[in-house]
């Protein structure tokens, strides 16, 4: 398939792996920031192809995983209301809140719909003028323009029965929080390609300079990931710490100016609590005052909800790259996609779920895996 098969070529992959092997002289810890990148790495067995010196740890870039339990409970409280049609991206449906998940609420009669684009919610709102249509706007900078457009259009077109429950998070503050942590092991980053498609990578340059870490903005196909690893290892071996762009077919340094302007018009930066990590200052978006009529949190006045995570779940450490999924005693035994203890197991992009889906819980099978 054009523009896909070229990036999944076995012979080229072999060449890049050989080059990584040739230049690497010592152990390096690299973090891929995005959940989509983690997914590709595990799906294609990329980490098995790399030399032992290159260790990949998985970052906090799964927006479903890092959405706080309080926010999920708020979403459920709104979704339960009989006057509401609650719209969400698909992978949020199975994420457990304190009492339930959206699939269960749906089975109890709540009107919950999966949408591919937030703009679809506007159609639903127009078609159901007697209902309040709420979109659960989660995600990083990648989904922000689409979500912003839905809120903006609702305001422009006077669609009063549409609102958004905003739980947006931002990548650079999370990377800063990981790098500043005394537990940090990360020496180089595969930067988030699609986030940078929107916002560019100027913002990453001060991070690289301040913490002396190379950051290579990387794509999502197997060859993208391998090339990103090669470029990062090259910098580490050379002792440089620049921001490089592996993904120029999509990413420009300044990002997408039109999208950024729209996001700025609709959202403002706020503090945000991340599941498993905690409060990170200036790490999220909320709707600006001008769009208050479309802000579900204000409209529905859901009260703050006290929540507690299971003590055994170490998803916070997994999200920060300190631990890997199989370091957790519950992984694959007490905690599986059918019986998830933490969000990194529920969302398809969560590191624990990716490890499970692609068979990493079969420790005893490891030898066969390596030799097949």
């Amino acid at each position: 398939m054009k523009y896909l098969d070229e990036y999944r070529d076995e012979a080229l992959a072999g060449k890049i792996v050989a080059e990584i092997r040739r230049i690497v002289t010592r152990h390096w810890v690299l973090m891929e920031v995005c959940g989509g990148q983690t997914h590709t790495i595990v799906k294609y067995g990329i980490d098995h192809l790399l030399p032992d010196e290159v260790e990949l740890v998985h970052g906090p870039g799964c927006p479903v995983c890092v959405t706080s339990l309080e926010m999920i409970d708020k979403a459920h409280a709104i979704a339960r209301r009989p006057d509401v049609i609650f719209c969400s991206f698909g992978d949020m449906l199975r994420v457990p809140g304190s009492e339930s998940d959206l699939l269960v609420l749906k089975s109890h009669g709540a009107d919950i719909r999966v949408v591919y684009s937030p703009m679809d919610c506007l159609k639903i709102a127009r078609a159901n003028p007697d209902k309040k249509v709420v979109f659960f706007a989660i995600g990083f900078e990648t989904t922000a323009p689409g979500n912003a457009m839905a809120a903006w259009q609702a305001k422009q077109q006077g669609i009063r029965n549409f609102s958004v429950l905003v739980s947006h998070v931002l990548v650079p503050p999370a990377m800063e929080s990981i790098l500043a942590s005394p537990l940090n092991r990360v020496q180089g980053f595969l930067g988030p390609g699609h986030v940078c498609t929107v916002v560019g990578y100027e913002e990453y340059e001060p991070l690289a300079a301040r913490f002396h870490v190379p950051i290579v903005v990387t794509g999502f196909e197997p060859l993208d990931l391998l090339e990103g690893v090669l470029m990062t290892v090259r910098q580490l071996e050379a002792g440089t710490y620049e921001v490089q762009n592996q993904y120029p077919r999509v990413v420009k340094r300044e990002g997408n100016r039109v999208a950024r302007d729209l996001v700025d018009k609709v959202f403002e930066v706020c503090d945000r609590k991340w599941r498993g990590i905690g409060m990170i200052p200036r790490s999220g978006y909320r709707l600006r005052e001008e769009l208050r009529d479309h802000d579900a949190e204000r409209l529905f006045e859901v009260k703050e909800i006290d929540t507690a995570e299971p003590s055994i779940c170490m998803s916070g450490l997994v999200l920060q790259g300190v631990k890997k999924p199989h370091d957790c005693p519950a992984f694959g035994t007490l905690c599986t996609p059918l019986h998830p203890l933490g969000a990194t197991m529920v969302s398809a992009e969560g590191a624990c779920a990716a490890y499970y889906a692609y068979g990493r819980h079969l420790e005893c099978e490891k030898k066969e895996l390596a030799t097949v």
Binding site: G45, L103, P222, S311, P340, L341
Partner: protein
């Protein structure tokens, strides 16, 4: 330490003991959710925990596509299936055609020659008469094409809103020819796994109409009766070990179930699994893995290695097997698990889906 299963048996109290203050897991569903019907792990759990303990008997136990039994000299296959697809008309087919093909194929996957089908309709008040007529006519045409007889039936009407337009159940019986012994337990290390054509087409065809997604090319369902293709395979004289049509849950669920029944493993080669370009593109856009997407009109044959080329040739000579391919083989290692050599040379386990496959955010 308490196991999750023990916790499940003891209910939610055990779960909270297990995880301290944990308010989280929604593992032991108190009600049916849609994922119980997805053909993945939750479907399996539902059958194993609720249905099988009550119904247990020798005919049901293999959990095959149909039951096999003898009356006098004759070996018969008996199978049933219900159809609730929405929308009821879709590119390449409709619910009626699907209902005939589904049971014909379930019988064919038992190695049987399908003979007679029963049809049960549940109709929603308000269904346009023309739509019903169209479905019934389509069933007659499908039955004629498959060479089966719609021998008995029943019709019920329910209040508006109590069903979605039309639900259909079909059951069928067929005769298993002498010398044919299809059984998932018969998959042996070394056997070749042959797939009759491209995957994921039906699931994507349905989804594109259901979600109102507009692709440049229309993707039509590949629903078809497989009994003719099975006869072509049998005509090679091969002792076919396993046949399976990978419908709900995709080829992954079908193959995982076979490894579990047979106590073997499997190794697949991703690059050899046929898929239409437009279906692959749609899966990429929607964030779906085609290995888990439903198929119709496709079968998996597991045959001894020395017969694989003959079976492949026979399949490719049949209109429904033009794109047939050997996609992997049965192994003695890693029993119960399907491994796949990925396109770039890595390896991963292909596991059955836990819930419904949900579109990813980005």
């Amino acid at each position: 330490m308490t196991t999750p299963d023990a916790a499940a048996r003891n209910g939610s109290e055990a779960v909270s003991v297990l995880t301290g203050s944990c308010p989280l897991p929604r593992s032991n569903y108190q009600d049916i959710v849609l994922a119980h019907g997805s053909g993945g792990k939750l479907s399996q759990e539902l059958i194993q925990k609720i249905v099988l303990p009550e119904f247990r008997n020798d005919l049901l136990e293999p959990l095959h596509d149909g039951a096999l039994f003898s009356i006098g000299e004759a070996r018969l296959a008996f199978s049933t299936d219900s159809y609730v697809v929405s929308p009821i008309f879709f590119p390449g087919g409709d619910i009626g055609k699907l209902a005939v093909h589904g049971t014909v194929n379930d019988l064919a996957m038992c190695g049987a020659r399908p003979l007679h089908l029963s049809v049960g309709f549940i109709l929603e008040e308000g269904l346009p008469m023309g739509d019903f007529q169209r479905v019934v006519r389509s069933m007659r045409e499908a039955a004629n094409a498959a060479g089966v007889n719609l021998a008995t039936g029943d019709t019920k009407v329910v209040d508006r809103g109590k069903a979605d337009k039309i639900f259909i159940n079909t059951s069928g019986i067929g005769v298993v020819p002498k010398g044919v012994n299809i059984d998932p337990k018969r998959a042996r290390p070394g056997d070749k796994i042959i797939l009759s054509g491209t995957i994921a087409t039906h699931g994507i065809a349905i989804m594109s109409v259901r979600e109102g997604l507009e692709f440049e090319t229309e993707i039509a369902s590949d629903t078809a009766p497989l009994n003719g293709l099975v006869e072509a395979i049998f005509a090679t004289g091969t002792d076919v070990h396993v046949l399976r049509d990978p419908t709900r849950g995709g080829i992954t669920s079908a193959l995982s179930e076979i490894t579990q029944s047979a106590g073997t493993g499997m190794i697949l080669e991703e690059a050899r699994i046929p898929i239409l370009e437009e279906v692959k593109g749609a899966c990429e856009i929607l964030g779906l893995d085609p290995l888990y997407v439903a198929n119709e009109g496709k079968l998996i044959a597991i045959v001894p290695a020395d017969a694989a080329d003959a079976v492949l040739a026979a399949m490719r000579a049949h209109p429904l097997g033009l794109h047939a391919a050997i996609i992997g083989e049965v192994t003695g290692d890693h029993a119960g698990f399907v491994l796949m050599k990925t396109r770039i040379g890595g390896t991963r386990v292909v596991d059955m889906l836990s819930g419904e496959q949900l579109p990813r955010i980005c």
